[in-house]
């Protein structure tokens, strides 16, 4: 097993939102490394900046200040196309509200990033089906998101994030709609994935998840206030 490597890095990264004449510092200057073979848990109260933190790591938003590196690439200098490609190749995202693409079936949702990577439709759907099978959802592959329960949507979202086999997996509250059995199944799987060399970042309110974590980062009011290993 190779040494853990730094897959993403925030350097004094800060995110400020301006709405009218109020400014909200969603995340204060933060420095943080995301390493392979590690499952990091990000905890904190609502509105503390958890989603902002992983959005910065996931290059979905740009920092107001500071730098973001993904696999050693400084992201500020990239154009839309390059940044999209960087996300597609390196990052799997499980969004807080699933964000499944409504017109697509469960299968096509999972196949979508594979298509973006240039795989043929047939190949992409074959791999997507294998992914859905792992999460016990092969039977619902033809259903559109609105025909799925919350937990099923969540699992489709996880399948989609895993489909491209990304090195960095960012999960925003991935277990909120899951019962204990499915939670354990998914968290064990995420842990295994980190053991295989991925960096897994999980945002949660749920203390049940702590037992699966290698590192727990506590965010409050836009600042990292505590880190436990």
């Amino acid at each position: 097993m190779p040494e853990p490597e730094v897959l993403a890095r925030l350097e004094e990264a800060k995110k400020v939102y301006r709405t009218g004449d109020t400014t909200i510092t969603a995340l204060d200057a933060t420095t943080m490394d995301i390493r392979s073979e590690e499952l990091v848990l990000i905890e904190g109260p609502s509105g503390s900046g958890k989603t902002t933190l992983i959005s910065l790591i996931g290059c979905v938003i740009y920092p107001t200040d500071g730098k973001v590196f993904v696999r050693g690439v400084h992201t500020s200098g990239l154009n839309d196309r390059e940044l999209s490609k960087l996300r597609l190749d390196n990052i799997g995202f499980v969004f807080q509200n699933f964000n499944l693409i409504a017109p697509f079936s469960a299968l096509d949702n999972v196949a979508f990033p594979l298509r973006l990577m240039g795989k043929s439709g047939r190949e992409a759907r074959r791999e997507a089906l294998a992914q859905l099978e792992k999460l016990g959802l092969a039977g619902r592959r033809q259903n559109r998101p609105r025909e799925l329960s919350g937990g099923q949507k969540q699992r489709v979202a996880i399948a989609r994030a895993l489909a491209t086999n990304p090195r960095i997996l960012l999960c925003d509250e991935p277990t909120a709609s899951l019962d204990h059995a499915s939670l354990d199944k998914i968290m064990s799987e995420l842990r295994n994935l980190s053991r295989e060399g991925k960096a897994v970042v999980v945002v949660t309110h749920d203390p049940r998840l702590e037992e699966y974590a290698d590192r727990i980062v506590r965010v409050e009011d836009g600042k990292i206030v505590d880190e436990k290993t």
Partner: protein, 372 residues
């Protein structure tokens, strides 16, 4: 791409239906207007286009085959001596009033042609033949120009300017621009239309093998004063331009087509835009996952093109039906490949132009909006 676009269309069928209807209506209207326009312009030049003359010689002030003025008959003889001229035969156009046996009255344009040359003979003949015109009082009539067409039989008498005449030749779809055409002999056209015997409306020429119509026309124009020789195509073009610039048919057709394109584009634009707005979150998700702006642009374009294809196909079907239906009422024209190409171009313009608004909006959406 195709599959994804189809799924978006499928997900919001009412909007896809609306946009398709927008294309359909706009393209059908354009095709319909263009068809009528083609028909009318073909009527303008129908006398010239259906003549067998290589050259039309007219009064030098004439710019329109439907309003020729007069030319002196002595030119008919003199033109025969121009090198390259084969036949020279007078044409007499004269307005008259016809009264059918059933009492129906109609204004007609008498077209007097000389036998045996028949450099302008009745075309689209369905009953009788041009030789019937040589019989005493013989004229041709088009079935579409009289309301009692079913009862029409060859040999039926009618009155033209009070003189007894006979329908000897029946055509179907040989119609004039100004009114009903009735072809007859030069002499009878003169008598009925009170045209002096030393006058004609035009002298029609054919050229001998080995001579070009252009050069013979040029030779005529060089050696005669007060008349003008037109190569047939040139006179047809001149007649069309004259009528288009004087009648407003061109402008009104053009305006209608522009309006159809604009309103179609607005309908399609708004429909695609509101469809895109409703799916904003999906497009943002696609971007957050790793789709570039180019990719989401192509998804919208593919949807627009799919809608355009269906709309165009349906409009084309309707237009073919329209052409058939209206031909049965005597409005006969053909859609050439140029028109179809033009309609296809208009469809592309409509759908791609209509997609622009949606594309601008989608390109602006930030992937971060998936968190809201």
């Amino acid at each position: 791409m195709f599959r994804q676009a189809l799924q978006f269309i499928n997900y919001d069928k009412p909007k896809a239906f609306g946009a398709t209807l927008g294309v359909l209506v706009a393209i059908f209207l354009i095709g319909q207007q263009a068809g009528i326009f083609i028909f009318l312009t073909s009527l303008m030049t129908t006398l010239v286009d259906n003549s067998k003359a290589d050259i039309w010689v007219t009064n030098d002030k004439a710019r329109d085959a439907n309003r020729l003025g007069t030319i002196d008959m002595r030119y008919a003889q003199e033109l025969k001596s121009v090198p390259g001229v084969n036949m020279a035969s007078p044409l007499v156009l004269a307005g008259a009033n016809a009264k059918l046996r059933n009492g129906e009255q109609l204004p007609v344009q008498l077209v007097g042609v000389e036998a045996p040359e028949f450099l302008l003979e009745p075309w689209r003949v369905v009953k009788g033949s041009k030789y019937g015109l040589l019989d005493n009082g013989g004229v041709s009539v088009d079935v579409f120009d009289i309301s009692s067409m079913d009862s029409l039989v060859a040999g039926e008498p009618l009155e033209i300017n009070g003189e007894r005449s006979y329908i000897k030749t029946i055509t179907r779809g040989a119609r004039g621009f100004g009114g009903t055409l009735m072809v007859t002999t030069v002499n009878r056209a003169r008598t009925l239309g009170q045209v002096p015997s030393n006058k004609a409306s035009a002298i029609l020429l054919t050229v001998k093998d080995g001579f070009s119509a252009d050069s013979v026309a040029a030779a005529v124009n060089r050696s005669f004063f007060g008349i003008r020789a037109w190569e047939r195509e040139a006179f047809s073009r001149q007649t069309r331009e004259e009528n288009l610039s004087n009648s407003g048919i061109g402008t009104s057709t053009f305006t209608l087509i522009i309006f159809a394109i604009i309103s179609g584009m607005v309908i399609i634009g708004l429909t695609l835009y509101s469809a895109a707005i409703e799916r904003l979150n999906d497009y943002a998700t696609m971007k957050a996952i790793g789709a570039s702006n180019g990719y989401v642009t192509r998804i919208i374009l593919t949807q627009a093109l799919l809608i355009a294809t269906v709309g165009f196909a349906l409009a084309a079907l309707l237009l073919v039906g329209f052409r058939k239906g209206i031909a049965n009422a005597g409005v006969i024209f053909e859609y050439g490949w140029m028109l179809w190409a033009g309609l296809l171009l208009a469809t592309l313009l409509l759908s791609l132009g209509g997609a622009l608004l949606a594309i601008f909006r989608i390109r602006k959406v930030e992937p971060a909006s998936v968190f809201r």
